[in-house]
């Protein structure tokens, strides 16, 4: 038999006050879900971030963004999950941009190939790329990340390695693109998308 007790009341079953707090908490959350139902948010293919980055890379001053390929258009037999823009200032082409979504999947849940426009996924991220008039990549920015893992690809320093990419199969994960342990799906996802969307741009210009 041991003396004394450091714990005060010690461990005990979820008592009445805890149960009450928990009930209020759960009711509150369901009310919250009721007021803000799970609405379908489309891809924001014209984020404010894009304008800021255009100003940063192409100089301050007015510019014109023209959509040259709208979202969900079919190009070369593939539906494009984003938009292409042409960026101009006073009749000079400053460059081009692509903004779109990459559908990812949960790690160790990727075996069954997913249809590219299956909206029924909560694993995705949205990014944009800027190209100069020579169609070289000058910037890659991930502006929305909602997948469960792989968020390390959003680091600006990591995305810097795509600057200068000018098409072709020059991007190899583990060779000239740093791999990220635990983020394999997102790494390959964004590299594949950068390669395909750059190639598509070359076909439509």
């Amino acid at each position: 038999m041991v003396e004394g007790n450091e714990h005060g009341c010690g461990g005990h079953v979820l008592n009445k006050s805890t149960m009450n707090s928990l009930t209020i908490f759960l009711v509150g959350w369901f009310v919250f879900l009721g007021i803000f139902p799970a609405t379908e948010r489309g891809i924001d293919t014209d984020p404010k971030r894009l304008d800021k980055e255009i100003a940063f890379r192409f100089g301050n001053g007015i510019f014109n963004k023209t959509v040259i390929v709208p979202r969900n258009e079919t190009l070369e037999g593939e539906v494009v999950q984003g938009r292409y823009y042409r960026i101009e200032r006073h009749d000079t082409i400053l460059g081009y941009a692509y903004a779109g979504r990459v559908k990812s999947c949960r790690k160790d849940g990727c075996s069954i190939p997913r249809s590219m426009t299956a909206d029924e996924t909560s694993e995705f991220f949205d990014y944009f790329m800027l190209f100069n008039p020579k169609l070289e990549v000058v910037s890659v920015v991930v502006y929305n990340y909602e997948a469960t893992h792989g968020q390390e690809i959003t680091a600006r320093g990591w995305l810097r390695q795509f600057i200068g990419y000018n098409g072709g199969t020059g991007l190899k994960v583990g060779k000239n693109v740093d791999a990220i342990s635990g983020a394999t799906i997102s790494v390959y996802g964004i590299v594949d998308d950068i390669v395909t969307k750059s190639a598509l741009l070359r076909k439509i210009i």
Binding site: G11, R114, E152
Partner: protein, 401 residues
């Protein structure tokens, strides 16, 4: 009151209107196989597996090796909608024990907030969350993750997780059931630590909930830093049907409980084929004095430590990075680990050097592709009082899909 009601109705209507999305799918798809798979990509199947061969190397004694299908895990997930998903993992350990590693429902409330409820992985340590064989070097998981972060540690609970992109932070915070500390006899000891207390979501009993959380920062290129914490009291079967008025029995029950606080820091860094990772863990237990006296067997007190500490540092390099044509990777690595299950003790426990261990692992990871690996390594380990190092050789195969 009327304005509030009106506002709520307007918000609900706005929500409903937004929920109507025009059908924007215009194209056809090249890959018809994709369409044959069930229900437009809602079901996800995957998994991983590891087969191990562990061979202790001794001079004077015969030492049999162990051949083991250490684990096979099947992942089944279902996306009910773009906001609601179910995630589950079924594990078969040692080719015969079946456990559920994860089984939870996740609801996206906001782009930075997801609600999770069910059997969740406790967010302590790198391995608990990233335990697929292709994601770590060495056949066996680091011993720190086993002894202090209790991998694979999972419990039933509820909480939130999300990635807050503007701050480059990912967070997880949960309330969950706790570790069992007393079940007709002591569950904890210096040798086993808290590991046997894992209830794994199997008819788990709860007498007091625990809280656990983790924050990861990923703003710096190629670096992921994590900070984890866990706090809670251990559970005790002595509270079952315990009358709150029986003072003596309540005191006994209290003596069979320890307070658990854990904190962990981890980092993973990888650049140009070079990878490094490290972890530091500290567990602090309160009330161990009473616990050890109460759970004595005969004349011998229990020896659970008041504080446990563990850390490791590992480096590796992909030699095949320099070969442009191949997807294969060959990664030699070395890892140094130290842990002490009795970093500090409370009376009447006397520290025993047998619980202060150093382990050095050196080996090769050979990746056939992103998801299939061959591994081999040598491990040298020694308790503080040992005159010489014990050695074990390991070989293993790991896949994920």
């Amino acid at each position: 009151m009327k304005t509030q009601l009106l506002t709520i109705i307007m918000i609900l209507c706005a929500g409903l209107v937004q929920a109507q999305q025009p059908d924007t799918i215009t194209g056809t798809y090249k890959n018809t196989a994709e369409q044959m798979i069930s229900s437009s990509g809602k079901l996800g199947i995957g998994g991983y597996g590891e087969v191990h061969y562990n061979q202790p190397l001794g001079k004077n004694q015969y030492q049999p090796g162990t051949l083991d299908v250490h684990r096979m895990v099947l992942f089944v997930g279902y996306n009910f909608s773009s906001k609601t998903q179910f995630v589950s993992e079924v594990e078969v350990e040692y080719a015969k024990e079946i456990w559920i590693e994860q089984a939870f429902l996740q609801q996206k409330l906001h782009k930075y907030v997801n609600l999770r409820a069910g059997l969740l992985l406790v967010p302590m340590g790198i391995i608990n969350e990233y335990h697929e064989p292709g994601t770590f070097n060495g056949v066996e998981r680091p011993v720190i993750d086993n002894k202090l972060a209790l991998s694979t540690w999972r419990d039933i609970g509820l909480g939130f997780t999300g990635t807050v992109l503007p701050f480059s932070l990912k967070y997880q915070v949960y309330i969950m059931g706790g570790l069992s500390g007393y079940d007709t006899k002591a569950v904890f000891s210096a040798d086993k630590g808290l590991r046997e207390g894992r209830q794994k979501g199997s008819k788990a009993y709860v007498t007091s909930p625990a809280f656990s959380g983790k924050i990861e920062y990923f703003g710096l290129r190629n670096l992921n830093i994590g900070l984890s914490g866990y706090v809670g009291k251990s559970q005790s079967k002595l509270f079952v049907k315990l009358n709150k008025d029986s003072a003596e029995l309540v005191r006994d029950a209290d003596s069979s409980v320890v307070g658990i606080s854990m904190v962990g820091v981890d980092f993973r860094y990888a650049v140009k084929g070079f990878e490094a990772r490290g972890q530091f863990y500290y567990n602090y237990l309160s009330n161990t004095s009473q616990y050890n006296l109460f759970t004595r067997s005969g004349e011998k007190n229990n020896d659970l430590g008041r504080a446990m500490i563990g850390y490791y540092a590992e480096v590796g390099y992909n030699l095949f990075r320099l070969l442009p044509k191949t997807r294969l990777e060959l990664i030699p690595f070395v890892r140094y680990e130290f842990y002490n299950m009795q970093q500090s003790v409370e009376e009447p426990v006397i520290r025993n050097q047998i619980y202060e261990n150093t382990m050095i692992t050196a080996g090769l990871t050979f990746k056939l592709n992103r998801y299939a690996v061959f591994k081999t390594d040598f491990q040298f380990y020694k308790a503080a009082g040992d005159p010489s190092w014990s050695k074990v050789m390991n070989m293993g195969v790991g896949v994920m899909f």
